[in-house]
């Protein structure tokens, strides 16, 4: 269960990368644009002559600022769509559309609920916001994420749904936006009741901060960071910056309330000798970890990435680190590790809190327009002079922070093996993933009998002249529209057998008419094309000769089905490579079948896959062998290499753990063939049925070149 949650979190984290990649650019636009169009900045530096409203430079900066904030203001929508895309298994464009519409629906539902209650005035202060012109609850990216996750779940559940014939036009992918709209209408109503309770809790915390001095500043800092992923930080810090909660002060005869207002009033006042730390304590703490700490963390992540991934990860991390340093926009960087390594984010929160406290203790009085990057440090710290701001402490503490962040992050990543960018397991090849997926539902999990829809897909594929003959595949309301390389290879008979009511040829274009359920057929066919069976669809049909008499074919098919019944179990190949007999393995313990009967493979790549569905019994400490029990009860031992136990785990990496459920085709181990060979060991990998005694027969089905997943062992009770 823990592994499963972790796996999901990793996928969520990865799905964030698409919107996150946009943030550095948006951050720079916003940071530079807003700093130099800020009236206080212009006034303080007497830039009014160059930058003035209506002037060219001002307009350009204003465009930068506004377009940058357009991205940030709609971040939740980007996440709603991005997460839906990332988490959807197939037909991702439909998930994106559903994510967008669901987000609109949810917020609109909330908006109407707010109106019904009496409008924004009736809600707690700072609890509402405008999203795409809709007045709704301030939910930050969290709002987008719950939409993205929910939509992806609904999408994966329903994108192949088949509805009754009359409604079948609305089936398949078309059903997804429909069901999502209904679901998020309800979620919106629910959120209207749930979210204000959360917000109330946050503002209560604010009161606590005020009453506890330095420790209060620390707590403030921790909470401010911890709330970012939930978009609740605004609810939390805005009152400090903008209301009495952040203190009030008389400056040049005027009463000013709110920490940020106090700072800017002092900035504008000629009588300020030293900035009031009681106000800046809610701001200055950002500088050390944003300019120094987080970029050092980025370096640690870069250093911990696998060598071959460094280049790709480097550009992401570098741009995110620069954004944090220059503009103080930290989300691009924080979101790269927040979901894959929540523990690291927790540490980050604590350190960030300490930074606020240290700034408070050291009397640092540097304010900011909206965040703590180098731009604001320069404008409101350095240029104001150390006497007024004590900004030098930011650099001192910052340098220490850089060291601390680097080592803490590097240590955590490597010791806890956290999957920060560039360290994730290789994306399981889509081919294998989907095949495993497909077999998920099959009765014996390890059995090879194909599902009905795969038989249909195989028939269609055969009818279209095989995988290589298809150059384009699409569908309209009722027809499968295919462009083929050679139209002579198209076999109308097979297509009709698959359920088509007609076939139309136009040059290289073929239209196969199925009726409204065609979108489901197309999805299934696309799934099928990703499986290894699609290379030889005729095999699945029970005979190599696709013009064979229909009844004969069906007879063979039913025989196949029987083969895969409870009496027998088929185990797939555990790796790509050359299959040999167990007796040919150069080691008595295997060749004499002491560990059971089975088959062996000389692998061509360093990957071991689950040969059937089932449960991992144990992964050897030395990670060179895996025991698993198939769904049918066969005890399968896969042993990578001969005598490789002596390597003590070197060159091996395990991707599963004891007790984990796996699907056929899941990646179990990866290992470095070259290094193992260089160390003097053979990589021949026998796979044995340890409880061979429980069966009447264990037979090897295949020798020679073999692809992972191909039938290799047949077990008969």
């Amino acid at each position: 269960m823990k592994d499963k949650i972790f796996g999901v979190l990793q996928r969520v984290g990865r799905s964030f990368m698409l919107p996150i990649a946009l943030l550095p650019v948006a951050g720079l636009l916003l940071g530079i644009g807003s700093s130099f169009t800020n009236p206080t900045t212009i006034e303080t530096y007497h830039l009014g002559k160059v930058i003035y409203e209506g002037g060219v430079l001002y307009t350009v900066l204003d465009i930068m600022s506004k377009t940058g904030s357009a991205v940030f203001d709609n971040l939740a929508l980007l996440f709603a769509m991005g997460v839906a895309i990332g988490m959807a298994k197939k037909e991702k464009e439909v998930a994106a559309l559903s994510g967008a519409i669901s987000y609109l629906v949810m917020n609109t539902a909330i908006s109407v609920m707010i109106d019904a209650k009496g409008g924004v005035e009736a809600m707690a202060a700072n609890s509402t916001t405008q999203v795409l012109g809709i007045t709704t609850l301030q939910m930050g990216v969290f709002g987008g994420i719950i939409v993205g996750l929910g939509v992806a779940a609904l999408h994966n559940r329903f994108y192949k749904v088949e509805l009754p014939q009359v409604l079948s036009f609305f089936g398949g992918t078309r059903f997804v936006p429909i069901v999502c709209t209904v679901a998020y209408l309800l979620v919106g109503i629910g959120m209207f009741f749930i979210w204000p309770v959360v917000q109330l809790g946050i503002s209560k915390l604010g009161a606590l901060v005020l009453s506890s001095g330095y420790a209060g500043t620390w707590i403030y800092g921790i909470l401010e960071r911890a709330l970012i992923p939930f978009g609740l930080h605004h609810v939390f810090y805005m009152p400090f910056w903008q209301t009495e909660l952040g203190g009030s002060m008389v400056i040049d005869g005027n009463t000013v309330t709110g920490a940020q207002n106090i700072f800017f009033a002092e900035l504008a006042s000629k009588s300020t000798d030293v900035f009031s730390v009681s106000a800046t304590r809610f701001m200055s703490g950002k500088f050390p970890f944003m300019i120094f700490g987080l970029p050092a963390a980025a370096l640690a992540m870069y250093r911990a990435a696998r060598p071959e991934k460094k280049k790709v990860v480097g550009s992401l991390l570098l741009s995110a680190a620069l954004t944090s340093m220059i503009t103080g926009i930290t989300e691009p960087l924080e979101f790269t590790f927040l979901f894959v390594a929540p523990a690291m984010y927790a540490v980050h929160c604590v350190l960030a809190g300490l930074s606020y406290m240290l700034m408070h203790i050291l009397n640092v009085g540097v304010g900011m327009t909206f965040s703590g990057g180098a731009i604001d440090l320069t404008l409101f710290g350095i240029l104001q002079g150390n006497a007024k701001t004590h900004w030098i402490w930011i650099v001192v503490v910052g340098l220490i922070y850089a060291v601390v962040y680097y080592f803490v992050f590097y240590f955590m990543i490597t010791k806890l093996n956290l999957m920060t960018p560039g360290r994730e397991a290789d994306d399981v090849e889509p081919k294998l993933y989907r095949r495993a997926d497909m077999q998920d539902k099959k009765q014996g999990a390890g059995a090879v009998a194909a599902k009905a829809e795969d038989i249909v897909s195989a028939l269609i594929l055969t009818g279209l002249g095989g995988k290589t003959n298809i150059s384009d595949l699409d569908c309209c309301a009722t027809r499968l529209r295919v462009t083929v390389a050679d139209s002579d290879k198209v076999d109308d008979k097979a297509l009709k057998e698959s359920g088509a009511s007609g076939v139309i040829h136009k040059g290289s274009g073929v239209q196969v008419i199925y009726g409204p359920k065609v979108s489901v057929i197309k999805s299934n066919l696309e799934d099928f094309l990703d499986t290894p069976y699609s290379d030889h669809p005729e095999e699945l049909l029970g005979g190599a000769d696709n013009t064979a008499d229909n009844s004969e074919k069906q007879a063979e098919r039913s025989e196949n089905a029987q083969n895969a019944s409870a009496e027998t179990e088929i185990i797939g190949a555990h790796m790509n490579g050359k299959a040999i007999k167990l007796s040919e393995v150069e080691d008595d313990v295997f060749s004499q079948e002491i560990l059971g009967k089975g088959a062996a493979i000389e692998p061509s790549e360093g990957k071991l896959y689950a040969p059937c569905g089932g449960k991992i019994d144990s992964v050897f400490d030395t990670k060179h062998a895996v025991n698993m029990v198939s769904a049918g009860g066969a005890e399968v031992l896969m042993h990578v290499g001969i005598d490789t136990v002596k390597l003590g785990g070197k060159y091996f990496e395990a991707h599963v753990s004891d007790g984990q459920e796996v699907k056929k085709g899941d990646l179990l181990l990866t290992f470095d063939i070259e290094q193992i060979k260089a160390a003097g060991y053979k990589v021949t990998t026998p796979m044995m049925i340890c409880n061979t005694d429980d069966y009447a027969a264990v037979e090897q089905l295949k020798e020679g070149e073999t692809a992972a997943g191909e039938n290799i062992i047949k077990i008969t009770k």
Binding site: V589, S618, A625, L637, N691
Partner: protein
């Protein structure tokens, strides 16, 4: 019933190879032979269960045999442990 305790001196412990050899020995006898490490116990003929015990260097295991030829079984298996493990 006969039994003996044995502390593993082999560097690697009971991995696939010795587990296979032990199972082969155990199958040759009529008696039921078990191996236990701490609370966990497995029939010596059940390869996967034996491997799952994860017996390593320095671990002490208890081997028990019960049946008509228990004496011979224990003697033979003990000999195997002493020579190989």
């Amino acid at each position: 019933m006969k039994e003996f305790n044995y502390t593993i001196t082999d560097e690697i412990g009971i991995h696939a190879r010795p587990a296979g050899m032990l199972a082969k020995k155990a199958k040759a006898f009529e008696s039921s032979v078990t191996i236990a490490k701490g609370e966990k116990e497995a029939a010596l003929t059940k390869l996967m269960a034996v491997m799952a015990l994860g017996v390593k260097h320095g671990d002490t295991v208890t081997v028990k045999a019960e049946g008509a030829d228990e004496e011979a079984a224990i003697a033979e298996i003990k000999k195997f442990f002493e020579e190989n493990l």
